[in-house]
Point group: none
Chain length 202, copies 4
DNA sequence: GATGAATGAGGATTCATTCAT
DNA sequence: TATGAATGAATCCTCATTCAT
């Protein structure tokens, strides 16, 4: 009648633990997160957790990497394969993508990296190589394509893809810090896109 | 022969401690900062530190508040009293102010707030009330003044002063995370100002 | 294609495990020896190990007993059945036996007993009854026989067979502790025998 | 009325802790000794213990060194300064010294070194340099002096001071392992000395 | 005021042992 | 039999905080 003490589910464990860990790290931050709590939320003993992750730090890294890698790929693929004109793509899929980031786990990861990046340079490098530099490069290539096609002028924006992303970044930080204070983050990003397009359209 | 231990004036102690604390929090983050280390850097005993600050958390809050409050005032004053046209002020003093923020202690405070804000809502409120909302309001008022004077059109930017600040925010995060990776943060902010002005000028 | 897992006969398992365990205990000592490691070296699962040995402690005792019992028997038999004169036997077989002990598994067992004997009085008793007291008694009887035959005088040595063994003991300890420091342990034992014979020969 | 929670006794703490630690290590061995227990016996909190000794291992080393260093010095001094003839000194002070070793803390240290030496090579080196090699050298010099004075013949014993000590070693191990079994360790050492003198006297 | 020795609750990690498969 | 995933008590160590001096 009682729940079985043992449940052999080797396949699922790493994911279960890593999901629970994400929650706890998200709520408490790295230092204040308790391994005990992660294990409890994963429905697993502390010992098992250490069977899959050597240290709390390894667990942290694994969690960060898991969350981060996935959603960037979809965007990059869309960017490469789209048939839309540059302007249509920017107003459509790119804007949509940016709008959903501040409320997504990615924002949590950013917060954790800001807080703990100092002591995990390899994690920051990983994030840089797999997410940031790829994302920026894609946006840059995309703007350049618009320039080549005669859609856009060649302005300072071409070399500064960060301009496209900066309201997304501010929105993320805003939500992290000022959950209760109003800010129409969608409109913020829309306006930036509007402004940039107005600025670079031929 | 011995160092003049008693020469230092008592009234400087809280400031000395709080400066040392700022350094340590900046380097290590809240959780990894050691009270011992703060005391050592301040050149006082741990006991004395606890005479001025009841807990590590109180010390943290005091430090954050101290750093933050000061530099915002200068800007706000300048904003109110300036004789420059709106465009001149934006291109001049405002841009200058923004450029120096990412490398200033304010950036450290932002990092600490992002990392620890969760558990110190009062600190976030304090920061909101004393810094963010005042800063944003000032920028808003300033844009409105431009509109009133006929310098600017009334666009979405009027209600979204965050647009002006978003590249500064991204620059701050960039420096925090990617110290070694190149980004011309000054140019980023200049281009945004350029774009905004092009967008809102009548 | 796969290794012949099931070819190995079941009845060898306890011995295989116990040999692996001896290696690990020898290298690490009791406390630092890991049951995991023993199982891995024996090429079996941890579960199986526990099928044959109830606890780590039982395994330890089994290992100690296994190593110890065997080689003493040969010597005792030789002692009883020899046709050599007492002096010849001492200079020959006995000396040979002692010389090979410090480098043999027996030395490892002694080290383990010295380290852990405290908490395993039954193990010490076992060792005492099966090895030490039998060995000493044999040597004593042998000396007495020499006295009876008129080969030896009746001196304090008769009641102190430990005298014969003490350089062997020192050699063992020496090798355990000071592996790299030189000591001609063979010569040490030879000289002791020489001295003893000179002392007790009629 | 209650005992004061705090007792500032900086001077005495290291010794008190180290004495308590010696007791616990002696009873349990290194691995099974609990830091908690050491602290409790020293009448001190766990935290304080770590104020004086960085790790359990450091504590162990400190304890071993403390016990060992002291008593060897007295003997070496006596050896150098004695006015006695070699034979008188051997029969007198040297024998006395050896007799008291097996029941002294030195025996405990030997046991700990045999058990843990493997993993603390620096400790073994320390012991070798400060105790064993000095002690052996002193005995060697002493025998040589006897030879020079014409008291002793020059035999194999001259180069093997270990012969003098081997019954002491066996006695130590005997007491460690077979506390309850009878062995007249004093007589063992006396007889060895007797034998050696008989063997080397001119 | 000022010190820093002393405290002890709390946390990461290990590992002998169990048991569902 | 045989496996190895799973358990959780036990242990070392840390560090914010206290308080005798």
């Amino acid at each position: 009648m009682t729940a079985p003490r043992y449940q052999r589910r080797k396949e699922d464990r790493p994911r279960e633990i890593s999901e629970a860990a994400f929650e706890v790290f998200a709520e408490k931050g790295y230092a204040a997160a308790r391994v005990d709590e992660v294990a409890k939320r994963a429905g697993v003993s502390k010992g098992l957790l250490y069977l899959y992750f050597d240290t709390k730090e390894e667990l942290f890294k694994a969690v960060i990497k898991r969350v981060v890698t996935r959603r960037i790929d979809a965007l990059l693929l869309a960017l490469e394969e789209t048939d839309l004109s540059s302007e249509e793509f920017v107003r459509g899929p790119l804007l949509e993508f940016m709008k959903q980031i501040p409320g997504s786990p990615v924002a949590v990861v950013i917060r954790l990296l800001i807080a703990e990046g100092h002591r995990h340079p390899d994690l920051v490098s990983y994030y840089w190589e797999n997410v940031v530099s790829r994302g920026l490069a894609a946006i840059s290539r995309f703007i350049e394509r618009g320039v080549e096609r005669g859609e856009f002028r060649d302005t300072a924006v071409t070399g500064l893809p960060q301009l496209v992303l900066s309201p997304m970044m501010l929105s993320m930080i805003w939500r992290i810090l000022f959950t209760t204070r109003e800010l129409d983050t969608d409109r913020l990003m829309e306006t930036q896109i509007e402004m940039i397009l107005a600025y670079i359209k031929a």
